[in-house]
C-alpha cells in the first residue's frame, strides 16, 4: 500500500501545484493581497480623474473607503445603494458634483459606514440618493460591511443604534479564504483571468470593452452586457426564476434591524439638513409578474417605502413595479438590474 500511496501523492502533485499556483497568482477575487493594493490603485486613479476599465473582483468596500479618503473636494450629491444603483452618474444631476458609492449586495450598514467616512473627512454633501433594493429591507445583513466596520460603528454610535455583530471567528474567515486555493470553481475563474487579460487600464472613455469604473464612482458593464439582446435577457430571467431560491421566499415582514437602521439614518441626514432622494429599483417585468403574485412581501416593501417617503417628505424616483415607470423587458440587463436606457427612463432623462 505504501507504494500505492506514494504513487498517488506523486500523481496528485502536478494537478495540486497547478491548482494552487494558478489560484494564488491569478487570484480572481484578489483574496491573497493583504495590502488591498488593487483597490488602492483603482481609488488613486479615480481621484486623479481617470476612468478605470477591466475592473474585476475586489473588496468594493475598501475601494469606497480609499476613494473617499483620497478625495480633494466634497461632492454635492452622494449616491449609495447596491449594484442596481451603480449606473447613476454625473449626467443624472447636471451642474452638480456627483459621487456614486454604491456597492454590490449593499445593506444599510454600508450606507452608515460610507457616510461616516465622508463625515470623518469633513465632507457634507447637499443631497444623498439612497438606492434601495427590495432585499435590503427583508434580508438579515451579510458580512461584507465588516470590511469597514469601524466606520459603521462610529456612525451607529452617533445615531444611537446598537447593532450586534455575529462575527465569525478569525480562523473560520482565514480558512474560508485559504481554502479557495483548492477550490475548483475558483480555479475556473483563475484560468479565465489567465487567458483574458484582466489587468486594469486607465482611460478617459466612459464605455470600454470590459467593465468600467468611472471617476465619479459610477460603473458601466462591459460589452458582454451591452451585446446581450432582450430575448437573451428574458432567458436569463426565466432561468433565474426556475433555478434559484427566490430572494422573497420565506419573508413575510420587513426586517426590524434593517428598518431601524434606515429610519434612523434618514432622520440623521434630515437633522443634518441633507436632502434625501429614494431610488427604488424596478424588477424585470417577467420577474415582477412572478414575484408580485407569489410573494405578498413585495407589496409590503413597496408600501413601506412609499409611506416612509411621504412621512419624511422624501422624493421618490422609480417604483418596484416596472409598469409604473413605463419600463419594458428591453430596459433591463437581468432580473433586477436596469440598463442605461432603463435608468434614463426612470430618471426622466429623456423628458
Amino acid at each position: 500500500m505504501k507504494a500505492f500511496v506514494k504513487k498517488i501523492i506523486l500523481f496528485s502533485l502536478l494537478p495540486i501545484i497547478i491548482l494552487v499556483s494558478i489560484n494564488y497568482f491569478y487570484d480572481p477575487a484578489n483574496l491573497f493581497d493583504p495590502e488591498f493594493s488593487y483597490e488602492r490603485s483603482i481609488a488613486n486613479y479615480l481621484n486623479e480623474g481617470w476612468n478605470v476599465t477591466n475592473v474585476g473582483n475586489m473588496d468594493e468596500r475598501m475601494l469606497q473607503k480609499y476613494f473617499i479618503e483620497g478625495m480633494k473636494t466634497a461632492p454635492d450629491v452622494v449616491v449609495m445603494g447596491s449594484s442596481n444603483s451603480m449606473y447613476i452618474d454625473s449626467s443624472f444631476y447636471p451642474g452638480q458634483k456627483l459621487i456614486n458609492n454604491a456597492v454590490s449586495s449593499a445593506t444599510f450598514h454600508d450606507f452608515l459606514a460610507i457616510y461616516d467616512i465622508y463625515e470623518s473627512k469633513g465632507f457634507k454633501p447637499k443631497k444623498v440618493v439612497l438606492g434601495i433594493a427590495p432585499y435590503m429591507l427583508i434580508h438579515p445583513t451579510n458580512d461584507f460591511w465588516l470590511s469597514y466596520k469601524e466606520d459603521f460603528f462610529d456612525l451607529s454610535d452617533k445615531i444611537g443604534i446598537e447593532v450586534q455583530i455575529k462575527n465569525k471567528p478569525d480562523y473560520i474567515v482565514q480558512w474560508e479564504k485559504w481554502k479557495q486555493l483548492f477550490s475548483l470553481s475558483y480555479f475556473q475563474q483563475s484560468v479565465n483571468r489567465m487567458f483574458n487579460n484582466k489587468d486594469i487600464h486607465i482611460t478617459h472613455q466612459q464605455f470600454g470593452e470590459g467593465s468600467t469604473k468611472v471617476n465619479d464612482g459610477s460603473y458601466n458593464d462591459g460589452q458582454y452586457y451591452l451585446k446581450k439582446s432582450s430575448s437573451q435577457i428574458d432567458v436569463t430571467v426565466k432561468r433565474f426564476i426556475a433555478s434559484s431560491t427566490n430572494e422573497f421566499s420565506g419573508y413575510t415582514e420587513i426586517n426590524k434591524e434593517q428598518k431601524e437602521l434606515l429610519i434612523n439614518f434618514v432622520d440623521y441626514l434630515i437633522a443634518q439638513n441633507i436632502e434625501i432622494e429614494f431610488f427604488m429599483m424596478a424588477l424585470h417585468p417577467i420577474y415582477y409578474d412572478y414575484v408580485s403574485n407569489k410573494y405578498p412581501i413585495v407589496h409590503i416593501i413597496d408600501d413601506f417605502l412609499s409611506d416612509l417617503a411621504k412621512q419624511k417628505n422624501i422624493k421618490v424616483i422609480g417604483t418596484i413595479d416596472p409598469d409604473q415607470s413605463g419600463l419594458k423587458n428591453s430596459d433591463f440587463n437581468d432580473y433586477c438590474h436596469l440598463n442605461l436606457n432603463g435608468f434614463y427612463k426612470t430618471f426622466n432623462i429623456y423628458d
Binding site: 500500500m1 500505492f4 500511496v5 500523481f11 502536478l14 494537478p15 491548482l19 483548492f182 475548483l184 470553481s185 480555479f187 475556473q188 484560468v191 430575448s231 428574458d234 432567458v235 436569463t236 426565466k238 432561468r239 426564476i241 426556475a242 433555478s243
Partner: protein, 480 residues
C-alpha cells in the same frame, strides 16, 4: 455527503487507509462504522429506520429458514414482505396516498380531509427495502441460506458506496464477498480509481453542464416552445445517463477499491433496438429485480391467461418499476408507457420478425434503435417534469407549438457549452462501447504504456478541473 464533494473525498481517504491497516477480521466492523457516519451525515435519524430494517430482516431471514411446516414458513415470509413494503409505503408514498384520498373526498363532496404527515424520505430506503424483500424471497424459496452473522448482514445493507442509489445488490452476490478478508490489491484499487475518475467526468463535465439548460426548460415548460422542449428532452436523456451511470461508476469504483465487485447497472442502453432490450441494458439491477421478483412469479401464476397473462405481468412489473422512482402519477404513467411499449413488442413479435427479414439488417437496426431511444426520451418527460399537467403541456407544445426558429430557443447554451457537451457525449458513448467490447476501462488501459496511462488520467483530471460544473447538483437518483 455526495461522492463529488471535498467532504466525501476526505471521508473516503480516511476509511480507505484504515480499512487496509486494520485486521481483515475487523473490516466489516469498519464498514458498518463508516456507513453509519455516511448515513448520519445528512440526517442522523435516518440510521434508525435502517437499523430496524436490518434487525427485523436478520430475524425473519433465519426464522423463514427454520420454520416448519411450510405454512408457517409462508406466514413469516408474508409478514416480512408486508412489514418491509409498509415501511417503504409509509416513508415514500403515504402523502401521495393521502392526497389522492383527500381528492376523492372532495370529488364526492365529503366534508373530510386527512392532514398530510411530515415525513422525510430516509436515505436509500427504496434500494435497501428492495434488497431485503429479495433476500427473504430467496430464503423462502430455498435459493439462498440466511446470513447468521448480524455484522455481515448489516454491512450488506449499509455498505456506503451503494446505500444511496444502488446498485440493488443481491445478497447472494454480496455476502460471500464480505466474508472473505480483503488485502490491499493493486488489481482492485487501480481499476476502482479509474472508475471513480471516469464517473466524475460524466457527472460534472456532461450531466451537470446539461442540467443548466434542462432545468431551465423543464421547470418552466409553459414559457418554452416545442422545439426547445424537444431539444431539452434529448439533452435530458443524455444527462440522466451521464448522471446515473457516472454515479454507478463511482459507486462501483469505491467498492472496488475496498475489494468488492458490485453489479454494473448499464450496458450501452442507447444501442438497444427495442424497449425490452433497453431494459436489459438500463438500470440493470432494478430491471432484473422486478423481472425476478414480480414479472416471473406473476406471469407463472397467470399462465392460464396465455399471452394476456404476460401482458398483465408486464403491466404490474412496469407500474411498480415506475412507482419505485417516486410517489407521483408521473412515475406511474412513466411505467404505463413502458408497459405499452413492451406489451406491443411482445404482441407483435411475429410481425416484426417478418419485417426484419425483409428490410436490410442495418436499416432495420438503425430505425429500431432510433425509435427505442426516441420513445425512452419521450417517456422521460413524465420522469422529469414535476407535475402531470406540466408533462402533458410539454407534449402538447412539442406537437402544437413547434417552430424551427432557433432564435427563441432559450436554452441558454453558449457555443463553448455546446462543444463541451457534444464532445463529452461522444467520448462517453465511444468509451462505453469500447469498455463493453474489451471488458473494462482497466483492461483497455492496462494494454497501454505507463506514460500513456498517466497522460490519460491527467487528461481526465484536467478536463474535470477546467470543464466541470461545480455547485450543489446532486445525483438525480439520490431522490429515489
Amino acid at each position: 455527503m455526495i461522492f463529488n464533494s471535498v467532504e466525501f473525498f476526505l471521508f473516503f481517504s480516511v476509511v480507505f487507509v484504515l480499512y487496509y491497516l486494520i485486521s481483515p477480521k475487523l473490516q466489516w466492523g469498519l464498514l458498518i462504522l463508516a456507513s453509519s457516519f455516511f448515513i448520519m451525515y445528512s440526517v442522523p435519524s435516518f440510521i434508525l429506520v435502517l437499523l430496524v430494517v436490518i434487525l427485523f430482516n436478520y430475524v425473519t431471514g433465519i426464522q423463514i429458514d427454520k420454520a416448519k411446516p411450510d405454512a408457517l414458513k409462508k406466514q413469516i415470509f408474508t409478514l416480512s414482505s408486508v412489514v418491509n413494503i409498509s415501511i417503504l409505503v409509509f416513508y415514500k408514498y403515504i402523502n401521495f396516498l393521502l392526497e389522492n384520498v383527500n381528492y376523492l373526498f372532495s370529488t364526492f363532496n365529503a366534508d373530510a380531509s386527512i392532514p398530510m404527515i411530515s415525513v422525510l424520505l430516509p436515505l436509500g430506503i427504496s434500494f435497501y427495502i428492495f434488497q431485503v424483500i429479495s433476500y427473504n424471497y430467496d430464503i423462502y424459496w430455498e435459493i439462498e441460506q440466511p446470513e447468521r452473522h448480524l455484522g455481515h448482514f448489516a454491512a450488506y445493507l449499509m455498505f456506503f458506496p451503494k446505500i444511496v442509489s444502488g446498485p440493488i445488490e443481491r445478497a447472494s452476490r454480496f455476502l460471500p464477498q464480505i466474508k472473505s478478508p480483503k488485502k490491499f490489491d493493486y488489481q482492485n484499487v487501480v481499476p476502482g480509481l479509474q472508475l471513480i475518475l471516469w464517473g466524475l467526468f460524466k457527472k460534472v463535465v456532461i450531466a451537470d453542464r446539461i442540467a443548466t439548460s434542462t432545468d431551465l426548460v423543464f421547470n418552466d415548460v409553459g414559457n418554452y416552445q416545442g422545439l426547445s422542449i424537444l431539444i431539452a428532452t434529448g439533452l435530458y436523456t443524455i444527462q440522466l445517463y451521464a448522471d446515473f451511470s457516472g454515479y454507478t461508476d463511482m459507486a462501483l469504483g469505491l467498492a472496488r477499491m475496498l475489494g468488492f465487485k458490485l453489479t454494473d447497472n448499464f450496458n450501452r442502453p442507447f444501442s438497444a433496438t427495442s424497449i425490452s432490450d433497453f431494459w436489459r441494458r438500463w438500470h440493470i439491477t432494478l430491471s432484473s429485480w422486478v423481472t425476478d421478483y414480480i414479472y416471473t412469479p406473476v406471469s407463472a401464476e397467470k399462465r392460464g391467461w396465455n399471452k394476456w397473462g404476460i401482458v398483465y405481468a408486464l403491466f404490474l412489473t412496469f407500474v411498480i418499476l415506475g412507482a419505485w422512482h417516486g410517489a407521483s402519477w408521473n412515475f406511474i404513467f412513466y411505467g404505463v408507457l413502458h408497459t405499452m411499449a413492451v406489451s406491443y413488442e411482445f404482441l407483435t413479435k411475429k410481425y416484426r420478425k417478418r419485417w426484419s427479414e425483409v428490410v436490410p439488417t442495418k436499416i432495420y437496426t438503425s430505425i429500431s434503435n432510433f425509435l427505442t431511444v426516441a420513445y425512452f426520451g419521450f417517456t422521460l418527460i413524465f420522469f422529469r417534469v414535476v407535475s402531470f399537467d406540466g408533462a402533458l403541456l410539454a407534449i402538447r407544445k412539442v406537437f402544437f407549438d413547434f417552430s424551427l426558429s432557433l432564435s427563441g430557443l432559450g436554452l441558454g447554451i453558449s457555443l463553448k457549452n455546446a462543444i463541451i457537451i457534444v464532445l463529452g457525449t461522444i467520448i462517453m458513448l465511444k468509451l462505453d462501447k469500447w469498455k463493453m467490447k474489451k471488458g473494462g476501462l482497466n483492461i483497455l488501459l492496462a494494454a497501454q504504456s505507463g506514460l500513456f496511462r498517466w497522460l490519460f488520467y491527467y487528461l481526465i483530471v484536467f478536463s474535470v478541473m477546467i470543464f466541470g460544473v461545480f455547485g450543489t447538483n446532486n445525483f438525480i437518483y439520490f431522490q429515489f
